[in-house]
C-alpha cells in the first residue's frame, strides 16, 4: 500500500514537472503548493491541538506534534524557493514584504512548537503547551493569506483563489493543482511515518509495544 501511494505520488509529482517547459516561473509548481501546505498543515496542527486539549485524545496530540516538522519543512521550502524566484524576477533575495514577513513568522511558530515540545519531558503536558502556542499562532494564518491584498507590496496578488476566474492559464493551473494534490498525499505519508514513531515512543511501556519489540516486527 505504501508502494502504491509512493507510485501515485511519483506519477503525480513527476508528470507535471516535465509537462510545462519554461523559465523561472516553473518554480511556481513547488513554491505555491508548499505555501498552501504550510498554511494547511498549520491549521491541521492547531485543530488537532485543540481536539487534544478539549477531549484529551492522545492521537490528536500526536498528530499535532507530528505535523510540526512537516509544516516547518514546507514553510522553509516556500521561503527558500520564493527567494530563488525573487532573485531573478525582483532582483532581490529578500524584502520585508508583508507576505514574506508573515510567512517567516509562520516558520518561527513551527520551530517554536517543535522546541517547546522537546523542552518539556512530560509529553502530555508538552502537548498542552504546544496546542496553546499553536492556537495563539492561528491569528497569523489570515494575515498571511490576505497580506497581498491588505498591503500592496512586491509580492503579487492571488492568481488562483479569486472568486471569479483564476488569472492563470489552465495549462499552468492543472499541473499546479496536481502538485498541490501530490503535496497533500505526501503530507499524509510523512505524517503517518512520524505518528508511528511518536506513538511507539510514547507507549514504550505498554503491552502492545513490548510485544512488538519481542516479535521484532517493524
Amino acid at each position: 500500500m505504501l508502494l502504491t501511494a509512493a507510485g501515485l505520488y511519483g506519477g503525480l509529482y513527476l508528470a507535471p514537472a516535465d509537462y510545462q517547459q519554461g523559465d523561472s516561473y516553473r518554480i511556481i509548481y513547488i513554491h505555491v503548493p508548499s505555501a498552501w501546505m504550510s498554511l494547511f498543515i498549520y491549521m491541521v496542527m492547531a485543530i488537532a491541538g485543540a481536539i487534544g486539549l478539549i477531549w484529551r485524545i492522545k492521537l490528536a496530540e500526536i498528530v499535532a506534534i507530528s505535523s510540526a516538522p512537516i509544516g516547518a519543512s514546507f514553510t522553509f521550502i516556500a521561503l527558500f524557493t520564493g527567494s530563488l524566484w525573487g532573485k531573478p524576477m525582483w532582483g532581490t533575495w529578500w524584502v520585508w514584504d508583508a507576505r514574506l514577513t508573515s510567512e517567516l513568522i509562520l516558520l518561527f511558530l513551527y520551530l517554536g512548537v517543535i522546541g517547546l515540545y522537546g523542552a518539556i519531558d512530560d509529553k502530555r503536558v508538552a502537548s498542552k503547551a504546544v496546542a496553546i502556542l499553536a492556537l495563539v499562532g492561528v491569528v497569523n494564518i489570515p494575515v498571511i493569506h490576505y497580506s497581498v491584498e491588505w498591503w500592496n507590496t512586491l509580492h503579487q496578488g492571488p492568481t488562483v483563489t479569486k472568486m471569479d476566474k483564476p488569472s492563470i492559464h489552465v495549462s499552468m493551473l492543472i499541473p499546479l493543482l496536481l502538485m498541490a494534490l501530490s503535496f497533500k498525499l505526501y503530507y499524509l505519508i510523512a505524517l503517518i511515518q512520524r505518528v508511528r514513531v511518536e506513538l511507539l515512543q510514547r507507549e514504550r511501556n505498554s503491552q502492545w509495544v513490548k510485544a512488538m519489540v519481542l516479535e521484532n516486527k517493524q
Binding site: A17, Q21, G22, D23, S24, R26, I27, I30, H31, S34, P69, I70, S73, F76, I77, F80, T81, L84, W85, K87, P88, Y186, I189, A190, Q193, R194, R196, V197, L200, Q201, R204, V209, M212, V213, L214, N216, Q218
Partner: protein
C-alpha cells in the same frame, strides 16, 4: 526542445533546479528520518530487554 535547453531553463536553470533539488531533499528527509527513528527505536528497545 533539446535536453540542453531543458536544463538551461531559459537561463534560469540555476534557480529552478536549486529550488527543485532542495525541495526534493527536504521532502525525502521527512520520510527517511521517521523510518530511521522507528528502526532505532526497536534496536534500542531490544537492547534494553537483554
Amino acid at each position: 526542445m533539446s535536453l540542453q535547453e531543458f536544463f538551461a531553463m531559459g537561463g534560469y536553470g540555476l534557480y529552478v533546479w536549486t529550488s527543485y533539488g532542495l525541495t526534493f531533499v527536504v521532502l525525502l528527509a521527512n520520510i527517511i528520518i521517521p523510518v530511521i527513528q522507528r528502526k532505532q527505536f526497536f534496536v534500542n528497545a531490544l537492547k534494553k530487554k537483554r
